[in-house]
Amino acid sequence: MSARLKILEHALASMARRKQKNFAIIAVYTLTVATLASILFLTQALRNEAANVLLGAPDLVVQRLLAGHHDLIPKQYAEQIAKLPGVGKVTPRVWGYYYDSLKKVNFTLLGVNDASEPPLLAGHLPTSGRQCALGRGIADTYGVEIGDSLVLVDSKNRTLLYEITGLFSHQSSLLTNDLILLPEAELRRFFALPDSQASDLAVQVYNEQEVSTLAKKIKHQLPDTRPIGKMEILHTYDTVFNWRSGIMLTIFSSALIAFCILAWDKATGISAEEKREIGILKAIGWETSDVLLLKFWEGLAVSLSSFLLGTIIAYLHIFFFGAGVLGPVIQGWSVLFPKFDLTPAIDLYQIFALAGLTIIPYIACTVIPSWKNAVTDPDSVMRS
């Protein structure tokens, strides 16, 4: 064991002596790791955010389908569903999308009718006619604050003024960024919705196990509906994110290939000075396997330091600098999510996979060149 450690010591010392050569390879290696790690961390963080959002979502949402697309659902369906054992509260929800052609943005309008204050709201919920509460994103878009007014154009093309009574804070932005709350009665007027119908039904289910049974029953009793379980949505998100990050990893694997070529090149292009050194070591009694061990330690030191450095950079990039560099690439996601701060979320498995993706190719690239060096003739030193 001690012999191995001595050789490690020597490997580190000789790397320190050749700073220039190692600097280039570590820099590129680090960059590669940082890129891949950024993708992984970002995906994982988004996955977690999605899961957190869904935590507050209803256990079961029931929509009505008409000719294959989402349609308004009669309110009496709610009563029918509420009768099923295991169902808690059934809340008809009223909501819709609103497109502002001037600002070219899409909002979600949601009706409220009870007075329970949601958390993270400054001010209060709209209670009467022309009042509303907003998410931060909308407030920023229009440059408005509590007490100001918001102008919306309703379905009959009337321009209406709404007094802003509440504003959601930044922390809840993932949920509320593009949200406008109106009193339910006002929202119905705004969209000209009939009173007897709702956009969908939020169904509370006490026992998680029973959700799928209830979904089946609802579908059976009300064949024109589509029940969607919370788990199903979570599952869809997971699939989408895995797929997305996979696609991005595949694209960025070209970076990996470029890096491998560089690693191969650096490992093969050994300097005369280095070659002479290996010759000396062999002449004074080192075996081929000792030199291979030396090269192994060198490779390990390069890999680990780059890996560590790259991971740290990626961490800072994603969680402290808001994934700035990857911004253009995640355009697709920004449709799904508004701008928001990510909560750091990393697991061991990510690190493991990342190590597999970056360290293995490097080792594979350097094994043959280092063998070539290790079998240097010991008597080359004498004949030079």
Binding site: Y206, N207, E210
Partner: protein, 154 residues
């Protein structure tokens, strides 16, 4: 007048629930005395026995609770069935702890608890029948009808 009656009724219900012993919730370290597994990850299945001396035992399901119940008095335990103040089980549909005499037990269904085959506690006969229909339950009994032979073996 009617309102007054309602109010009185409410008061009565309230006070009775105030005076009757209420089961405590298990803490994280609580284990089932029958099989030793932790209770808190499986609260949807939990059952508990409240004794007259205010002590309380938690079980990870109706099955284990009744195994214990029928084993009383046993050599590991000084308590007898007479010491029991109330038995609570978790209602399948509402996931609330309810006294056992308010519940029906559905046997032989395809719903299994953390301990495998279970007897599923359901409030009200109507709901019990629905459950049996939905989940292939074989038999609906009340607590009085329960015998040790009816407890699922695994």
């Amino acid at each position: 007048m009617r309102i007054l009656i309602y109010l009185l009724l409410c008061l009565l219900l309230f006070s009775s629930s105030c005076f009757a012993k209420q089961p405590q919730q298990p803490d994280k370290k609580e284990r089932c005395p029958v099989c030793g597994m932790f209770i808190s990850p499986y609260r949807d299945w939990m059952g508990t026995i409240l004794f007259k001396d205010d002590s309380q035992l938690f079980f990870d399901g109706a099955k284990d609770l009744f195994r214990y119940y029928f084993s009383l008095p046993n050599k590991n335990d000084s308590r007898t069935r007479d010491d029991i103040a109330e038995i609570y089980l978790t209602d399948y549909y509402s996931v609330r702890l309810l006294p056992v005499n308010q519940l029906f037990l559905v046997l032989g269904s395809d719903v299994s608890g953390p301990m495998g085959h279970e007897m599923i506690p359901v409030t009200g006969e109507e709901a019990a029948k629905t459950f049996a229909k939905d989940h292939n339950g074989q038999k609906i009994i009340s607590f009085e009808q329960l015998t040790p032979q009816l407890i699922p073996k695994d």
